[in-house]
Symmetry: D2
């Protein structure tokens, strides 16, 4: 049996608990320690998985720790990436790297050339159906990709306090869809055009934020992608992608909570989809870890990378510019080499 | 038993044959005569339904004829509308009135105040599922409409010769979707933004036309509509609409050719949707006639009207302007009264 | 253009009206006349399709009449079959030939050797999905057929007066499913085992009839078929078949009334299926006529035949015997040659 | 935080590994030790979950062990149940208790009156959709249950060696469906009628076993249940149940491997269902543990019980008698009190 990799987990909140459980459940990974300023949360998670609590310095300084998983607050990501890679640890970082383009650029510049791998975890790419779409596109099953459509709607807006620090709809929520479109287009968009409004809650408008949006992107080849967003889908979490190709179309459907059908005089009723991301993307979180372990074994290159994280953010910036100007906006191309 | 209305049919081509059969099949309508420059086609249709062939003047001059159904070439529509209404006949006209905004405007001006009704037949509105969506919206089932999404893809481009006279993608094909968006938004869009390309066939690009498009519209209230189009869906005719409201979502699915499921080692396979409009909208054509008979009985006002036809065309014009300018374009508001 | 066949229609009731409209709508058939003891019904149908009313003797004696369509009361079928074939007309007869095995046998004996064709119209076989299943079985797509499952439930029981003359559930309703099982098994069952009860309405029990049943049949090869029936499905007409083969499974799904999906906090709701046979099997009735015209042209042999009608009835008889005895019952094999 | 219950796991094979992982993943259960004659398997599982290996006597004698989970070979179940309950441990036992009615009866007699709870784990009952059906039935949503239909097909027969010791199709595989029917009927069947054959593999016939079956059961109230089985569904694991009630129908659909749709000229293709029970019933295994923990807390009574296990086996015996006799067979009613 091959040895298990030791992973230190930063963040014992909701998404940290998901990664912690996944690490503990595998035969080839071990939850070395949990680090969180909320000591009670860290302790509870550590006890549950027969692991232990540590502080940042101890975790980063422990030669037995192979990698760190960053599931802490967004504002800490960039710094932990730099510290982790500098300490020679492989890094698994929850998206985003940061909400500021400048901070992302300086973080990536700082770690450029690092021998340790950096993996930025966009969960959508690891959904089994989405991953299969990508494989089928690469295999040529649907011919040339012509039009990508992403429907992404949350079950309800987060608290206004959260929204205030979120960076706004495009940086907080659409960021996933920007990455998804690049992933499925197989080509970087060169223009972005956006329309948006605050329709679900006037408090969102009062914050200067938006909750409903339609974004169109086009690549140099002419192929296009369209994203529609809302902060509130009445029936839960609406997560669908569709790739129209010259030879076929591949699309995902929402995942129902279970496979029950109720037929009566009122019609044919199936359950709503999973309510939100923890349940909806449970498989994705496991698959992210599959990939990260393959990276640790040297069998795969990490993807998405830091540059992917930057590019998704640049699309969000272009979308905001389009909203302000009423124009199609050209997307800034990162100066560095791109995957 | 109430008497049957006598309808004169202009056009014995593909869509004329559909309307002719529907007229003949009803107890409350009678196919008075068929008019077509192609005398053989007119005769075949007349024989099939135990009707007769006539010329334009005879049909329009026959006091026994209650109404005319215009299913002839697009270039003849405006003139026949004027002649029919002037002759005191009710008019059922296949969309569009004309490809030129000027000609549509002058036609509508010429017939303004006519006591006889004019019905412009956009088939999508009469699809049972679409009509039901509209009813549910009016009933408040899904609350406030926030986002309308229309997917409309043909199974393949028509011959280049047809395209040359078609007015281009937006006037020929998207025109249906523009009308659909107005119908489902319940509000006129004020801005249009379009992206497009010729991706399916270089001959289309050579004609200066496009075959793949994404159009976003926004209303004064902030609500939006998004249309995606392609001239070629690999699996046939892709016709879906989706209305996201504050309390619920209503959407249509493609109609499979039949309800067979084949399960094997290759997966779970269902048939493709109906290949094209004659089969897909067979029920719509019958429902158009239901509505027109109700208009003839004085029970309903005709809808869509001539102004609806004009407004859909103005959205197409705005989409072309957006393509050229790379900007959101404001939509021209018709000067006349609007339904 | 080939000449149209002249068809005389016996019966202007609900199913007669369906066949009359289908005959009138085709270019290759003509509704010669309508015969019905209810003269008002006959006249209304004749006027609607620009046909005329006739009496039995005139219709059968008219050399211009190529064929008769029997859609009159069940008790008249056997006699009309004999008269029609004797008069040299091709015969299209609604199922069943008769409710009595003896009467069916004597009718078939009387017309044996008739040069004119007899077609017994079991509508299920002509459903496009069912017909496709049969074609796929013959083509070997699913390998050896091993298990056929038929779900057949009505939206509600007919009036007790109807039930009293219906022959009981197995002869009136399951008869369709017996024929369907033979059609899909491709082999005659040799044993039948039945369980049943009256669960939906005590008035049915009071008549000595049943409303809920499960019937299992087995062929000499070992392959089996299972039918489940109810007189009352809460959501409408439940009509599904499933064929499990060694290489694949083919199954039909209910046809929704339209293709609308309503998603909200209550779940994902689709419309109920078509309520009953006139709507559900509308395509079947048209396809029956396609087949009958091919028979008239000499291009196809009629199927199902009179013997098929007899065999379905013999399965119903065996099912009743099984109910009484609590045993598997061997099915009587008709003495005549079988298709 | 409430304390975690310590569970000793007997059996480190495929299903043992599932239960072991589920025990280790919860905050309220702890994997105390693993017992298996295959010491390597036991050790691997213990290491993976930071637990330890033990022998039977140690595990049963350890006062810190609250409960045992029996996932070892079927032949060991009855003895371990007795030993576990005698030692004062709560018992979670994989179905079946034993393949012999006599041995099941004597086991149940031996532990009658034991203060510790015995839970017999039939996984189907714990499928979220099936559990929901049961809740809806109890809530009256579908009115009176009239007909239960269970489709249960494996993706392929196990090796002949396994079949030889399996007790045959009805005791090995249909046993799940017998329990399911009782669970959904809410009433014990009083008669059983079976038809069966060996169609998929002549080697199965050579063993005197069957691979394809249809079983009908009827209760005193008249309500019925129908099971169809095959050892080989071409597309994988076919697991569906359907309950037809007076006011509605509840049914489950197969769970696709993921929610991808591929549309092309070949049709509309979705993935196959999960291949077999470990994946298909992953949620059930977790829900079984939810229930068992509630039993350990004294919040719920264990269900299914040992008597439920016996009753399912008695239905299997009746099915074999029906096959031999060609008759409906009355089901033996256990002498003891029944849940």
């Amino acid at each position: 049996m091959t040895r298990a990799f030791n992973l230190a987990l930063f963040g014992a909140g909701r998404i940290g608990a998901v990664h912690g459980a996944n690490i503990a459940a595998r035969a080839d990974t071990s939850l070395a320690c949990v680090i969180d300023p909320d000591e009670e949360a860290a302790a509870a998670l550590a006890v549950r998985h027969r692991s232990e609590v540590a502080d940042e310095a101890t975790a980063l300084g422990d030669a037995a720790v192979d990698a760190i998983v960053i599931a802490s607050a967004t504002s800490t990501h960039a710094e932990l990436i730099e510290k982790g890679l500098t300490a020679g640890k492989a890094v698994f970082c929850e998206k985003p790297i940061d909400l500021s383009v400048g901070k992302v650029r300086s973080c990536l510049a700082a770690v450029e050339g690092s021998p340790s791998p950096l993996f930025v975890a966009f969960n959508r790419r690891f959904d089994p159906a989405v991953a299969e779409i990508r494989q089928q596109i690469l295999a040529g099953t649907i011919g040339a990709v012509e039009l990508v459509t992403v429907t992404s709607k949350d079950p309800g807006a987060p608290p206004i306090g959260y929204l205030r620090d979120s960076g706004g709809l495009f940086r907080d929520m659409t960021i996933h869809d920007f990455d998804m479109c690049r992933f499925l287009l197989g080509e970087d968009p060169v223009t972005v055009s956006a329309a948006a409004a605050a329709l679900t809650d006037q408090a969102i408008a009062a914050e200067g934020d938006i909750d409903t949006a339609a974004v169109t992107m086009q690549c140099a080849s002419g192929r296009m992608a369209v994203i529609t967003n809302s902060r509130r889908a009445s029936f839960g979490y609406d997560q669908r992608v569709e790739v129209h190709g010259s030879l076929g179309t591949l699309r995902t459907e929402n995942l129902p909570q279970h496979h029950l059908v109720h037929e009566s005089g009122s019609g044919v009723v199936r359950p709503k989809p999973h309510h939100f991301f923890i349940e909806r993307y449970a498989q994705s979180y496991r698959a992210e870890l599959d990939h990260f372990v393959a990276v640790l074994r040297g069998e795969q290159q990490p993807t998405p990378t830091g540059v992917d994280g930057l590019k998704a953010l640049l699309l969000a910036e272009a979308a905001y510019l389009s909203l302000q100007s009423g124009r199609q906006v050209e997307v800034e191309a990162p100066s560095g080499a791109v995957q």
